[in-house]
């Protein structure tokens, strides 16, 4: 193995001197505020920019959800506290402080869009990926720093366009985050056009990021950082970047076509004979609504793995670090991630069993869907087995990582009935689906993201976040998250549909003689419980927000490697300077050398020179 290590030009000494020079140079020209925080090309600053902005968007998306939950639990009743504010800002759609069905629809569409495209993906992929990946592979920065900056600015613009759409006449997009045509074209608002333009900007941002990540991981690995020495986090980001690179463009194509439908009045997705409001629409027709769904879900399903893979990467790092032993089945994890990435491109139509696309196609897609659950289960199993026999350090990041495992497990397993056409026909578009994917993304991915924030915060600031309030944040979030989502499984199985703006009141009232009640009272009652659990969940985030900002200046100061981790991101000065490493790191071993027999400490950094590290003959100790 040792012979295979690439010999690179000996620029280590020269590089260090150069870095020194550069630093001295920099001290002369201290970059101003704009240069340093807004137009920065440093991957760490860009990572933090992404992180803060996506956290803000997640909070905003959460507020939209609270307003919707109020409307579901108390349809037509003015929203307390925020009602007058809503009416002042949005006018007629929020008359008397109550949420009209149109407003409910646009909140629903924008909650999904914001959470997925402006919250979770930028935080999981762009923020953590940007900050941590170059550090982990021993690179001075991303391969294309200026593209990186352009990527963030494009993301920012996309976010602005999405937010602005709330204030235009007619309001924001109302056709769901999936924007199915012809609905998306026939709703009389330009919100949809704003949504599409915003999406094109966000897609551009993702593409620039994906190209940058892949090029960085392929080209800028430090000497000795072979593929199988990369931490699993880097592998997860690598596969994610490929998914974004190849799955997003078809949605961009679909977005352009729908934009043409909305602005140039073409009929790409509008069928012949389409009637709007009882009148034949003035269109040429001949389009295919199914085409939009195919193009949308060609991104939409891989996007699920964009949400989950970086989270798995974060959890894997934290588990290895806090069990103080190597990750169980590193190679299985890597190959499973690659297989998931590949297979995620051929499962998309399992979202479309109800469209009448045909039995044979449904059979094909439910087969691939069942197959893709295998590598996902392998990944989760490896993580569970990693816990076996470890002396587990329980701290806030580890708590969130441990919380991720069963929550993602519930989310994944409840997806199986949705992947099979026969059971999906019944469960499609019910709250069961909402519960399923929220278990994957909210207590799943978002818990992993919280874990990542607590874990890498000391690297970014040199201080730890408060442990006590971290635990309060975890236990409250864990409890209320489950009270919010668990009842939705029951509601869905009882037949509550996902897009009803009155929370099912009218549907429940429609009683057919001699038939089972459409929605029994107990199911409707759950709406009230979920509302209060959601509000409590919101309150549970306050300790986190305060902790995050308070700890920047008041947290417990720590050294460069407070978790005693092995990966290269912890072998840099804290916070890492421009250029990251004092010396170019030479990687000599795998990423998870914890508790190596014969080593003085229970962790052996990847770049620690061989002589003082592992024992001469490790077999002796087994």
């Amino acid at each position: 193995m040792q012979e295979k290590v690439q010999q690179f030009p000996p620029f280590r000494a020269g590089q260090a001197a150069h870095a020194h020079e550069a630093q001295a140079h920099q001290e002369h020209h201290e970059p101003g505020f704009w240069q340093k925080y807004i137009f920065s090309t440093d991957h760490k600053v860009i990572g933090i920019q992404y992180g803060l902005m996506s956290l803000c968007f997640m909070l905003f998306g959460f507020f939209l959800m609270l307003l919707m939950r109020w409307q579901i639990a108390h349809p037509g009743v003015p929203v307390p506290v925020f009602g007058p504010l809503l009416e002042a800002i949005l006018g007629q759609p929020a008359a008397h402080g109550a949420i009209s069905p149109d407003l409910y629809n646009s909140f629903g569409a924008m909650h999904g869009t914001i959470m997925v495209f402006l919250g979770v993906v930028p935080l999981a992929f762009a923020a953590f990926g940007n900050y941590v990946t170059p550090l982990m592979i021993g690179a001075p920065d991303m391969a294309f720093p200026r593209l990186n900056m352009a990527s963030f600015h494009s993301f920012f613009l996309g976010g602005v366009v999405m937010l602005v759409s709330f204030f235009i006449p007619g309001g924001a997009a109302q056709a769901g985050w999936t924007s199915y045509s012809p609905l998306a074209t026939t709703i009389p608002t330009y919100g949809q056009a704003f949504w599409l333009v915003g999406m094109v900007l966000l897609i551009t941002s993702s593409l620039l990021g994906a190209v940058n990540f892949i090029a960085t991981i392929i080209q800028l690995r430090a000497p000795g950082m072979t593929w199988m020495r990369m931490p699993f986090f880097v592998w997860a980001q690598f596969v994610t970047a490929f998914i974004l690179l190849l799955a997003f463009p078809p949605l961009e194509a679909a977005g352009l076509l729908q934009l043409m439908d909305n602005v140039a009045h073409t009929s790409f997705f509008l069928p012949t004979g389409l009637a709007v409001g009882g009148q034949l629409a003035d269109i040429s027709g001949g389009g295919s609504p199914l085409l939009w769904q195919h193009l949308f879900w060609f991104l939409g399903h891989p996007e699920v793995y964009v949400l989950i893979l970086p989270a798995m990467g974060i959890v894997a790092e934290i588990i290895a670090n806090n069990t103080r032993k190597p990750l169980w089945g590193y190679k299985s994890l890597v190959y499973s991630a690659l297989f998931v990435g590949f297979l995620s491109f051929i499962v998309w139509a399992h979202h479309m069993y109800l469209t009448g696309m045909g039995q044979h196609i449904a059979t094909f897609f439910q087969t691939t869907t069942m197959i893709i659950s295998v590598p996902s289960v392998i990944i989760l199993t490896c993580m569970f087995l990693s816990l076996w026999g470890g002396s587990i350090r329980v701290n806030t990041p580890m708590l969130f990582a441990l919380g991720f495992l069963p929550m993602f497990g519930i989310g994944g397993l409840t997806g199986l009935p949705l992947g099979l056409a026969a059971s999906d026909l019944y469960l499609h578009d019910t709250y069961y689906v909402i519960a399923h994917f929220h278990y994957v993304v909210a207590p799943g991915t978002i818990f992993a993201l919280f874990a990542g924030v607590y874990f890498w915060f000391p690297k970014m600031t040199g201080r730890k976040m408060n442990e006590f309030w971290g635990r309060v944040h975890f236990w409250c979030s864990f409890t209320f998250m489950n009270i919010v989502f668990m009842p939705m499984f029951a509601q869905g199985i009882k037949g509550m549909l996902r897009r009803m703006s009155d929370g099912g009141v009218n549907y429940a009232a429609a009683r057919v003689p001699n038939a089972i009640d459409a929605l029994p009272g107990t199911v409707m009652q759950l709406n009230g419980w979920i509302l209060w659990a959601a509000i409590a969940l919101g309150i549970a985030q306050i300790p986190f927000i305060i902790n995050l900002f308070w700890s920047i200046t008041h947290g417990e100061p720590v050294n460069h490697n407070p978790w005693q981790a092995t990966t290269l991101d912890w072998q840099t000065p804290t916070p890492p300077p421009h250029g990251n490493f004092a010396h170019e790191p030479h990687t000599v071993r795998g990423p998870y050398e914890y508790s190596a027999p014969g080593h003085a400490t229970d962790f052996t950094p990847q770049d620690e020179a061989e002589s003082q590290a592992a024992p001469k003959n490790p077999t002796e100790h087994h």
């Binding site: 690439q6 294309f144 190849l246 961009e252 009929s267 001949g286 199914l290």
Partner: protein, 267 residues
Amino acid sequence: MEIPYTVQNRPDTGIYNAKLGIWLFLASEVMLFGGLFSAYVLLRVGADQGMWPHGWLNVTLGTVNTLLLALSAITTLLAWAACKVRDFGKFKLFHGCTILLALTFLGIKSYEYHDKLAHYEIALTNGKFADGHFVEQSKDFDLLKKTGTFTLHGHIVEDRRELMDLRSPEAQAAKHEEITIAAADIKKMGNYGPRHNTFTAIYFTLTGLHALHILGGTLVIFYFWGPGSRMWKTDPERFTNRIEVSGLFWHFVDLVWIFLFPVLYLT
């Protein structure tokens, strides 16, 4: 701080950063145009019997444009080769040709667009259809409505389907002449713009996006040909890489046209 392998190849991957970057970008472009081409296939397969147009586009102009782009691919390659052998004069000459060829392509394309936008189909109150190009310079519909008459250079058909296949012998034999139509006889009229039918929609979208790519590529090549060529004096190797990378993009854009031409013009 300096990022490694911006100019030199990394020994174990055998490639420099920007070249890998552009190949990845082109992979995403393949998926973008792949999505649009599959939309084309689905729309065409799903079209009603006899309602998918044939022969609506000018094959001669399309062929000329194909040749222009093929030629520009050659000049792009030669420009890069000239950089490789450090002949700056030849580089200027060849990439100058590339820019001229690209601009000619865009000129022809705009002429074709204009031709489609000036082409009207008019549903008459008697159930027939008039089809042809406006003779008047002004195409202000509201104004013409008041003046009372329109003059078209074209013909009148019984059934819309007759307008679909312009390669058929009947369509070839049809006599085009100046016809004048009274505003009162018009039920509905519209030009051959994107909203005319799904063929013009996908035609304008695909070729429009392609033309944007041509425009972008031309701007980049123009920058390297003009102000950006100062780098030749300071770092010729890096400059050569830039020409190679922009050339790869240009070849891709040419390749897209090689698919667009038969799909839209010849079938």
